[in-house]
C-alpha cells in the first residue's frame, strides 16, 4: 500500500495552544480514513495544514511523494486534493447548479471569455452530482437561501466536482438531519469508491464512522493518539472515555 498523503512531524501552536504536536500520519490510497477526537483537538487544523491554509512551524506534508508544505491551497487543489468544509464554503449568490458549474469550469480551466457558464459540456455531469446529494430540487435556488444541511451537501458536491484524488471532509454530516445522514453518505461513499477517490473525514457521529470508515485516527490535544480499524478503535477504552462517552 502506498501513501497518497504523508504528514511528518507537523507542529503548530497558537499562543499557548498546541494544535499540532509531532503529527505523523499516512493516508493510503483508496481508503476512507475517519478522524475523530474531542473538540479543539486539532482535527480541522490538520486539514488546514494539509490543504495549505496554515503553514506548520515544523514538519512536512507530501502528496504523491511531492512536498506540498509551503504550497498555497490553490496549488494543492490543482494537484488533486479537494476539501469540503466544517462551515460550508459556497458562492452564496449563485445557484446550487452554478456553484457546481463554476467548480467544473475551474477544473477544466475554461477561461475563454465568450463561453457561457450554463452551457459548458460538464453541465450534465454536474446535474448528476446534484442528484447524488439529493439537491436537484434546489438546483436553481441561490445557495444563500438554502438551509445549512443542504449547503453542507452542496459543499461536498462542489469538492467532488473537482474529481480529486484525495478528498478532505470536515464534519460532512454535522447539521444534516439524522434521518438523512446515512442515505446521503451512502451515496457519497459510493461515488468515492466508483471514482477511486481517497477520503479523509472528520466526524463526531460514531455511527457514521463505523459504517463508512476503513480506518480511524484519534486526535487529542494536537496529537494522533491511536490509529487502526474502526472496530478496534471505537471500543478502545481511551477513545470511549474521551471521545464517544458512555451512555449515562
Amino acid at each position: 500500500m502506498t501513501a497518497l498523503l504523508e504528514a511528518k512531524g507537523l507542529e503548530i501552536h497558537f499562543g499557548g495552544v498546541v494544535a499540532a504536536s509531532d503529527v505523523n500520519l499516512q493516508i493510503h490510497e483508496g481508503k476512507n480514513l475517519a478522524i475523530i477526537g474531542p473538540n479543539g483537538a486539532g482535527k480541522t487544523t490538520f486539514l488546514n495544514i494539509c490543504t495549505g491554509y496554515l503553514k506548520p512551524s515544523a514538519g512536512q506534508v507530501f502528496f504523491n511523494g511531492k512536498g506540498i508544505t509551503r504550497k498555497s491551497p490553490r496549488e494543492i487543489t490543482r494537484l488533486g486534493v479537494a476539501r469540503a468544509f466544517q462551515i460550508p464554503q459556497l458562492f452564496g449568490e449563485h445557484t446550487a447548479l452554478e456553484n457546481l458549474l463554476i467548480a467544473a469550469a475551474a477544473r477544466e480551466r475554461r477561461w475563454a471569455p465568450f463561453t457561457r457558464l450554463g452551457q459548458i459540456p460538464e453541465r450534465a455531469e454536474m446535474m448528476h452530482l446534484l442528484e447524488m446529494v439529493n439537491c436537484v430540487h434546489v438546483a436553481d435556488r441561490p445557495v444563500e437561501e438554502l438551509p445549512e444541511g443542504q449547503r453542507k451537501l452542496i459543499d461536498i458536491a462542489v469538492a467532488l466536482a473537482l474529481k480529486p484524488k484525495l478528498l478532505f471532509m470536515d464534519e460532512p454530516t454535522s447539521g444534516v438531519a439524522s434521518s438523512e445522514k446515512f442515505a446521503v453518505l451512502d451515496i457519497v461513499a459510493k461515488a468515492l469508491t466508483e471514482s477511486k477517490v481517497t477520503s479523509v473525514f472528520v466526524e463526531h457521529d460514531m455511527g457514521i464512522v463505523e459504517r463508512f470508515a476503513d480506518e480511524v485516527a484519534v486526535w487529542n490535544r494536537g496529537e494522533v493518539l491511536h490509529r487502526g480499524m474502526p472496530d478496534d478503535i471505537l471500543s478502545h477504552a481511551d477513545v470511549v472515555r474521551d471521545v464517544i462517552g458512555e451512555e449515562i
Binding site: 490553490r74 458549474l101 463554476i102 471569455p113 465568450f114 457561457r116 444563500e144 469538492a159
Partner: protein, 330 residues
C-alpha cells in the same frame, strides 16, 4: 428576456441616435454621456466582484492624457491611434496598479485606488511643465483615418462612432459576465476561500476584471478628451471617481445597460440642474441619488424592470399574480 425589454434596448438606442436632430447642442452632451457610460461600465465590472474603486478616474485620465500627448507630439494626431494608445496605456497602468491593489478588498481596495488616483492627480497638477498644470492640455481635433474634419462632422462622427462602440462593448461585457471567469469574478464578493480551494487564483480573476475595467475607463477617457478638446487633472480627481460609482448605482449596480442609462440620465439631470437651479444643482443631484438608493436600490434599470413586471403580470404571468393575490388573501 421577454419581448418588451428585448425591444426596449433597440428603441432606446434609436431614440438616443435621433436626439441630436431635435436638439443639436445635445450631441456633445450625449457623447460625453457615452464616454462616462463606458467608464461606468468599468466600475460595474468591479462591482460584480463586490469591489468599489474610488479611483477609477485614474484610468480615465491616463488614457485622456496619453491621447493628448500623442496629439501634441504629432501636431494633431489621428483619432484611431489615439484610441488605441489611450486604451493601451490605461491597460498598462491598470496592470501596474492592479498587481498591487488586487491583494486588497473592500474599503482598502477602494482607498488604495483613491490613493493612486490622487497621486496621479497631484502629479498632473504639480508637473505643469509637462502636463499644463490645472489648465491641462489642449487636444486639437485629430485627423480621422487621415481625413481632416470640421467640428460638426467630427462631433457627429464621435457620437455615432461612440454609440456603435458602446453597443459592441456592452455586448462583450455582457458575455464576459456570463462566462465562467465572469462568474468567478462574482464569487470574489461571496467566497474567495472556496474559489482558492477550486484551484483558481482569486487575485488573478480580479486582475482580469481590473484590466477590463481599466480598458473601459480608458476608452471613455479618450472619447471624453477628444470630445472636449481638452484634458485637465480634474479627470483624475476623486469626485470624478465618485461620480462614476454614483452613476453605476444610479443605473443599477451590476447592470450593463444600467451604466449607459445611468450616464445619460445623470448627464441630463446635471445639465439641467446646473442650468436652471444654478446654485443648488449639487443638492438636487444629492436628493436624486438619495431617492434612488432609498426607494429604488436596484437603480433605474430596476425601476424599469419592476414597472415592466407590473405590466407583464396583467398579461403574460397573470397566473402568477393571481396566485400571489390568493396567498395574500388567505
Amino acid at each position: 428576456m421577454s419581448l418588451v425589454p428585448r425591444l426596449a434596448i433597440p428603441l432606446l438606442l434609436i431614440a438616443v441616435a435621433l436626439l441630436p436632430f431635435l436638439a443639436p447642442w445635445s450631441k456633445v452632451m450625449l457623447t460625453l454621456a457615452l464616454a462616462k457610460g463606458l467608464a461606468v461600465l468599468g466600475i460595474v465590472v468591479l462591482l460584480h466582484a463586490g469591489q468599489v474603486s474610488f479611483g477609477h478616474a485614474l484610468f480615465f485620465a491616463v488614457a485622456a492624457y496619453s491621447a493628448a500627448f500623442l496629439g501634441q507630439a504629432f501636431g494633431g494626431g489621428e483619432l484611431v491611434s489615439m484610441v488605441l494608445i489611450g486604451v493601451a496605456s490605461a491597460v498598462v497602468v491598470g496592470l501596474l496598479v492592479g498587481l498591487f491593489v488586487v491583494r486588497y478588498r473592500y474599503i482598502f481596495f477602494g482607498m488604495l485606488n483613491l490613493a493612486f488616483s490622487m497621486i496621479v492627480f497631484s502629479v498632473l497638477e504639480k508637473f505643469y511643465h509637462y502636463t499644463g498644470g490645472s489648465d491641462g492640455l489642449q487636444v486639437a481635433r485629430p485627423l480621422v483615418l487621415g481625413i481632416e474634419m470640421e467640428r460638426p462632422a467630427f462631433e457627429s462622427l464621435l457620437f455615432y462612432g461612440g454609440l456603435v462602440i458602446a453597443v459592441i462593448v456592452a455586448w462583450a461585457v455582457h458575455r464576459y459576465f456570463d462566462s465562467p471567469i465572469g462568474h468567478m469574478l462574482k464569487t470574489i464578493k461571496t467566497n474567495e476561500t472556496r474559489l482558492e480551494y477550486l484551484g483558481v487564483s482569486a487575485r488573478r480573476v480580479l486582475l482580469v476584471g481590473y484590466l477590463v475595467s481599466a480598458a473601459l475607463c480608458g476608452l471613455g477617457g479618450v472619447l471624453m478628451a477628444v470630445a472636449q478638446g481638452i484634458v485637465t487633472p480634474e479627470y483624475a480627481w476623486w469626485i470624478r471617481s465618485g461620480e462614476l460609482v454614483f452613476i453605476a448605482i444610479l443605473g443599477g449596480a451590476g447592470s450593463v445597460s444600467g451604466a449607459f442609462v445611468g450616464a445619460l440620465v445623470y448627464e441630463v439631470v446635471r445639465t439641467y440642474a446646473s442650468a436652471f437651479a444654478g446654485d443648488v444643482w449639487q443638492m438636487i443631484l444629492g436628493f436624486f441619488l438619495l431617492g434612488i438608493i432609498l426607494y429604488a436600490p436596484r437603480g433605474l434599470i430596476g425601476v424599469y424592470g419592476s414597472f415592466m413586471g407590473r405590466i407583464g403580470s396583467n398579461t403574460a404571468s397573470g397566473k402568477e399574480a393571481k396566485r400571489r393575490a390568493m396567498e395574500a388573501a388567505e
